[in-house]
Structures are given as structure tokens and as C-alpha cells.
């Protein structure tokens, strides 16, 4: 298996400091307007002859990453609705719209999180990020 390499540009060194001092965004913001200063700064980052390119590899474990749909990305299946009056999800696939947890057999309902739900961890510290 080949390592997954990804190129990142890391700008550093005395040349970068010098150029940034000469063409600082603040300077151009004051003189010529922020859009122009931003463009020049962008060009410096792209073409800076003094900057040093470095490579950073993807983390080892990403070799084994499987594609999935996270709960944050997945949108609810339209066959399910949250019923505020009972504080539960209902399944619309049956005429009596039963609570989803009562509606299905062994496989259970599939609302939105099925991809990573079973056995997934909760990460409370960073779950909002």
C-alpha cells in the first residue's frame, strides 16, 4: 500500500519575514484598499522565492479510513418525523404513523445516523466542533 502523501506549503524563513514586512497586508489595506493588499499577499504566498516547501504526510491511520456519512452531515429520511407532542420520532411508512422504535423489526429504524450509529463513540468534548 502506498503512503498517502499530501503537499502542504509551509512559508517560513527570513525571506518570508522580509517580504511580509515590505508587502504587509496592513500597509496595502491603508494605501490601496484591503482587496488589493489581500491579492498581493496571496501572490507572495504562492510565488515567494524565499519560502520553503515542506511535505506533510497524512496520518498513518488514514490508510484505513472507510467512507461514511456522519450524523452531522446526514439529513433525516423523509419517512420519519419528530413529533413534538410525544417527544419521539414517528414513522410515516405505516398508516397509523407509529413511533419509529416500535415500527420496525430486528433491523431497527433507519433515520439518519445508521452509518456510524451502531457502536459509535460519543465525543462530548469535541462533539460540537
Amino acid at each position: 500500500m502506498e503512503p498517502q502523501r499530501e503537499l502542504y506549503k509551509i512559508q517560513n524563513g527570513a525571506g518570508q519575514v522580509f517580504l511580509n514586512l515590505i508587502f504587509s497586508r496592513k500597509l496595502y489595506t491603508n494605501w490601496l484598499g484591503s482587496w488589493y493588499g489581500s491579492v498581493i499577499n496571496y501572490l507572495i504566498l504562492i510565488f515567494n522565492p524565499f519560502g520553503k516547501e515542506a511535505t506533510m504526510n497524512k496520518p498513518f491511520l488514514l490508510r484505513f479510513a472507510h467512507s461514511c456519512v456522519s450524523p452531522g452531515r446526514a439529513m433525516p429520511d423523509p419517512e420519519y418525523v419528530y413529533d413534538e407532542s410525544i417527544d419521539m420520532v414517528r414513522w410515516l411508512g405505516s398508516p397509523d404513523n407509529p413511533p419509529a422504535i416500535q415500527a420496525h423489526g430486528k433491523s431497527g429504524p433507519m433515520t439518519k445516523k445508521s452509518d456510524v450509529e451502531k457502536g459509535d463513540d460519543t465525543k462530548d468534548r469535541r462533539m460540537w466542533r
Binding site: M1, P3, Q4, R5, T55, M56, N57, K58, P59, F60, L61, L62, R63, F64, A65, H66, S67, C68, V69, S70, P71, G72, R73, M75, P76, Y80, Y82, E84, I86, D87, M88, V89, P99, A100, I101, Q102, G105, K106, G108, P109, T111, K112, K113, D115, V116, E117, K118, G119, D120, D121, T122, K123, D124, R125, R126, M127, W128, R129
Partner: protein, 324 residues
């Protein structure tokens, strides 16, 4: 009153809601992604936390005795990704609400299942393993490292056969696609490339094979164990979550000493709920990890394991124990 903090698509909560409703218990479910649609106010210096639901304002500082902290939703969860504001704006809004919710921890004399800080502390896998070992569990020999040579040394001690897994959340959310890192077998140390290893630490452990996997759900003093088997009778090789559609979960009793260790572990970590992963290898039970807020809805219904009922017992006990 019992307060449930989660999101509206958390079906595991629905099991508890149905049970609390059938018992006529006094509870309120807040799906926190909806907080922005109502009133949410913290008043100081005399702490009051006011939240509206269905047009009624609840004073959490006065009404609540126990909080079941499940999976709080985020403000933009119900909005398709393409229609959400910039990531920076999302992060800003999320952070404001996260901080607001965190203030609920200021309410005195509340029982949490589990307290977010206790969850947070025990999410650290090094801590999990160290506590397990100190309590008397067997644990797999482990290195957590970004150094290829340390991993190779461990491999050499175990027939060049290791497992590798993530030290923290195994979910990678790229702008257009998500990825999940399960536990993997490493049987060729040439896979361990220096330049990839250095980037971030990885957990390497002796591979316990052959093995039998167990998921042990501890609720208060009760322990619910299931043995995890493949439907085709072949032994599981690595991470059972990768084969979740071909599995069966058989309720079982653990040996009494292991059962007690699971209870002690959850207690030691200041938790009232925990989902512990064990493996049986060469007649010994090894502790792998604990998910302090692990999923269990998939165990409840098809296997008739009364986790929701037991959780309700616990919630009601803490809601009423001081004559509330």
C-alpha cells in the same frame, strides 16, 4: 424533574421517553439543536436558567434533579450542509451555545448521567487502560506512539501481529465526505512508515486472537453483557463494528469477578453509565475500552435487553431520592 439533553434524531432516547411516559414520570426532553428557536436565558448573580419549550418556560435551576446527558444537537443540524452559513460562523454559533449549555453544570445538587466532565476525562484511552489495569483487569500490552520503532518493538514481541486504532475520535469530517477509522490489524511492519507515523500518535496493542468480543453495558449497579458472534460462525478478526450486519448479540452472564470489575470500573470513573468492550482470549477477559456515553438502542429492542427500563429506574431514583 428529569431533564434529557439530546437531539431529536436520537432514537435511543425514544426508548427512555416511551418508558418514562408509561410510568407517568415527570420529565422534559430538550433537543438542543432547537434552543435557538425559543427562549434560553441565564440570569446572574442569583443563578436562574430559563428555557422555553412549547410556549412554557422552565426554570432548570428550580425544576431539575437529574440530567441524562445524551447527545446534544448542534444549532445547524437540521439545515442541509449546503445551506449552512460559513464554517467560521457555524463554529462561532456552536461555541456560544456550547458555553451556554455548559453553564447548566453550575446548578447545584444535580445528578448527571453522566457528568460531561466525567465523560470527558474517561474518553482518554490511556487513562481508561491504566484505570482498568489498576483495578485488576487484564489489558492488552499497549504503546501509544508516533515512533515507528516503538511500534515495531511491540510487534516483534507479538509475532509481528498488532492492532492499530485511533487515540481519540475516529471520525474524520472533510468538507465533502466523512471517514471512519475502525480498529485494524497490522501484520506487516513495513506498513509502518516513519513519515506517516510521525504526524499523529496511534494506539498499538497486541492483537488478541482468537477472541470473543463482549459489549458490557453498565447502568448504575446493573450489568448487561452480550457476547458478539458472527452469524456464519466464523470468529471475528478485528473490529466487530465493521461487520455489524452479520452479527448477533447474545445476552450472557460474565464470570462474577469480571462482572464486579465492570461495576467497580464505572464507579471508579464517577460514571453511572458506561459501555465497556471486553474480549475473552485464552480464557482470560481483557478490557479494551469504555464508551462513557455508548450507544445501546441497537441492543434494547432486538435482544429485549431492558437497558431503557433500568435507566428509567435510575433516573427516577435520583429524581425522587430526596423527596423531590
Amino acid at each position: 424533574m428529569i431533564l434529557i439533553l439530546s437531539n431529536k434524531w436520537d432514537l435511543t432516547v425514544d426508548f427512555v421517553v416511551a418508558e418514562l411516559r408509561s410510568r407517568g414520570s415527570n420529565f422534559i426532553r430538550f433537543n438542543t439543536e432547537d434552543l435557538a428557536s425559543g427562549r434560553a436565558t441565564i440570569c446572574l448573580p442569583d443563578l436562574r436558567i430559563l428555557v422555553s419549550k412549547h410556549g412554557r418556560v422552565h426554570d432548570l435551576t428550580r425544576d431539575i434533579n437529574v440530567i441524562w446527558y445524551r447527545r446534544p444537537g448542534k444549532p445547524f443540524d437540521d439545515i442541509p450542509t449546503g445551506e449552512r452559513p460559513s464554517l467560521a460562523t457555524q463554529n462561532f454559533v456552536n461555541d456560544q451555545w456550547y458555553s451556554w449549555l455548559e453553564a447548566i453544570q453550575l446548578i447545584p445538587n444535580i445528578t448527571w448521567i453522566n457528568h460531561p466532565k466525567a465523560n470527558d476525562a474517561i474518553e482518554n484511552k490511556a487513562r481508561q487502560l491504566l484505570i482498568a489495569s489498576k483495578l485488576g483487569f487484564e489489558i492488552p500490552e499497549t504503546v501509544i506512539t508516533n515512533d515507528k520503532n516503538d511500534a515495531i518493538r511491540l510487534a516483534q514481541e507479538h509475532d509481528n501481529y498488532l492492532i492499530a486504532k485511533a487515540l481519540y475520535s475516529p471520525l474524520i469530517e472533510e468538507p465533502d465526505e466523512d471517514f471512519f477509522v475502525f480498529t485494524n490489524i497490522i501484520n506487516d511492519v513495513d506498513l509502518l512508515r516513519e513519515e506517516e507515523m510521525r504526524v499523529s500518535p496511534t494506539i498499538f496493542q497486541q492483537a488478541l486472537v482468537p477472541k470473543i468480543d463482549y459489549r458490557v453495558t453498565v447502568v448504575g449497579q446493573r450489568v448487561f453483557a452480550v457476547r458478539i458472534e458472527r452469524l456464519n460462525e466464523k470468529p471475528l478478526q478485528t473490529d466487530w463494528r465493521m461487520e455489524k450486519d452479520d452479527l448477533r448479540f447474545l445476552p450472557c452472564n460474565l464470570p462474577p469477578d469480571v462482572d464486579i470489575l465492570c461495576q467497580r470500573y464505572v464507579d471508579e470513573c464517577d460514571l453511572l453509565f458506561g459501555a465497556i468492550d471486553l474480549v475473552q482470549h485464552e480464557e482470560k477477559f481483557f478490557f479494551l475500552e469504555i464508551n462513557p456515553n455508548g450507544e445501546w438502542g441497537w441492543l434494547q429492542k432486538p435482544n429485549n435487553i431492558p437497558i431503557a427500563e433500568t435507566l428509567c429506574d435510575l433516573l427516577i431514583f435520583y429524581d425522587t431520592k430526596d423527596g423531590a
